[in-house]
Subunit: 256 residues, 2 copies
DNA sequence: CGATGTCTTGAAGTGGTTCAAGTCACGTGG
DNA sequence: CCACGTGACTTGAACCACTTCAAGACATCG
């Protein structure tokens, strides 16, 4: 589980002041280096990259950026969790993804020079802001950086396609199983437990992401508990039978 | 509507032979230039770009690439339509997007060096194959090309997020209205009629894309016809009341 | 002109929603 | 430390949108 450094609570939580600058740190020593943009760079390249990064803190429930904000930077999550969500004209919200430490957010703004969604912190978090104009300059100087940038962007595309497959084809229970096993795999890749973790998002967020209602989520959890597949109390999750959950999520099993 | 050049039918339609080379053509004169990758390039830059492009023909129902194929190129659609679709382990298919002339496909392969989905021609089509290794070289020489590449990739991300919003939040009728108005806008941007076009995909494909059944599609079409909003016979569509369809698709109206 | 695949229409069934009460967790203040 | 209040989550019963199953109509093409 990701340890959260104790943060003194900020009395002022307005948008402008919620994205707080922090002292500069170095990428080379970052625990998440191999997931991030400067993966595979040489020492000199790494410090070139370091020099454009701005370290910031974002408080829980505060936006890192909002829909329609001018696009200036992309962000690597250093600590904490975010959700990216669109809001349609008539007020419907759809969460497109949950992002954890080591992932990149903000790529949505590249196309139109304005962000196409909100990015909101699910808990007090820290990000590395990477000004895009400066990054673009580095691309010409450091080709491997460009390659990794494309790789991460493409992975984002694939992730969204998989989420569509989930929303379009799976039943409620399968969707939730897929959600759990996906989190499990991502935590596992980052060196955390694959079977025991804490949900950073509310039932409402989960329901929204999966295209369901919170009541359905509750009922599904109750059913999975009853079969001994999971143990969930509040937001603490334990996956008791990962293979069966995986099988469920790809539709091999149906539990009635 | 896009005119299809008469193609002599190919007796052999195997995968390998279905992606046929065609004589080289120039991007500068292409009708779709302003949607495509080399938008905004100078004359010299354009011919640099021309030199790496391979022109190909793909026959109806044939794959341009398959899931797990090694990633080597991206493709600009010059003529015709494609669908990109994922297939999950247990055989479920999900169409991620329909692509028309002027759009880029193949970006999904960048992350893992293998394509993450299928791209299949909905009709006899022509594409401009752009080998990625050569494109990468041009990026360093032609910065505007890189910018446009990122723009197109980001737009793809946004499109998929919007599709997720659709699958997660809208009712069947709203989804179909959104589908129609989306096609309308894209044809309109390309200089074709916004209200009258031909569907290149089957009801089955539409249903799959929208996360519904073909029966539901049929019934929705019947209802929209009955209200005088559309006139659809077979795959020929006429949008009789575009404003109402738009309103429907964003959930402002509900037609029971 | 018949065969085949695609699309439409009808009737019954159901998974998930909606509405409405609870229950639980947690922070606040007495 | 415990009572209280609030927001998050759970559970139950009724409903409905969409699916499923089944049949029939229509288009297309050898």
């Amino acid at each position: 589980m990701i340890a959260i450094a104790p943060l003194q609570s900020q009395p002022v939580r307005s948008y402008a002041s919620s994205v707080l600058p922090l002292p500069r740190q170095q990428c080379a020593g970052c625990r998440l280096h191999r997931f991030c943009l400067p993966t595979g760079l040489s020492g000199i390249q790494n410090s070139q990259f370091d020099s454009i990064v701005i370290h910031r803190r974002v408080l829980k429930d505060e936006p890192l950026y909002k829909m329609d904000d001018p696009f200036r930077s992309i962000y690597a999550i250093r600590l904490g969790h975010f959700k990216t969500h669109q809001v349609s004209r008539n007020g419907f919200e759809q969460i497109a993804a949950f992002h954890m430490a080591g992932e990149l957010v903000g790529l949505d703004g590249l196309g139109t020079d304005r962000h196409q969604c909100y990015a909101t912190a699910l808990e007090d978090s820290e990000v590395c802001e990477i000004p895009y104009s400066k990054l673009e300059q580095l691309f010409t100087e450091i080709p491997p950086l460009l390659r990794q940038f494309h790789r991460l962007m493409s992975e984002e595309l694939t992730r969204e396609q998989t989420a569509m497959l989930l929303l379009g084809n799976l039943r409620a229970e399968q969707r939730f199983a897929a959600f759990l096993t996906n989190l499990s795999a991502r935590y596992s890749a980052r060196g955390y437990s694959a079977t025991s973790f804490h949900l950073r998002m509310s039932r409402e967020d989960i329901a929204n992401y999966l295209g369901l209602t919170i009541e359905s989520i509750s009922r599904i959890i109750a059913r999975l508990k009853a079969r001994g597949l999971v143990s969930i109390s509040n937001r603490d999750v334990e996956l008791l039978d990962l293979p069966t959950l995986r099988a469920l999520s790809i539709g091999e099993l149906t539990v009635h």
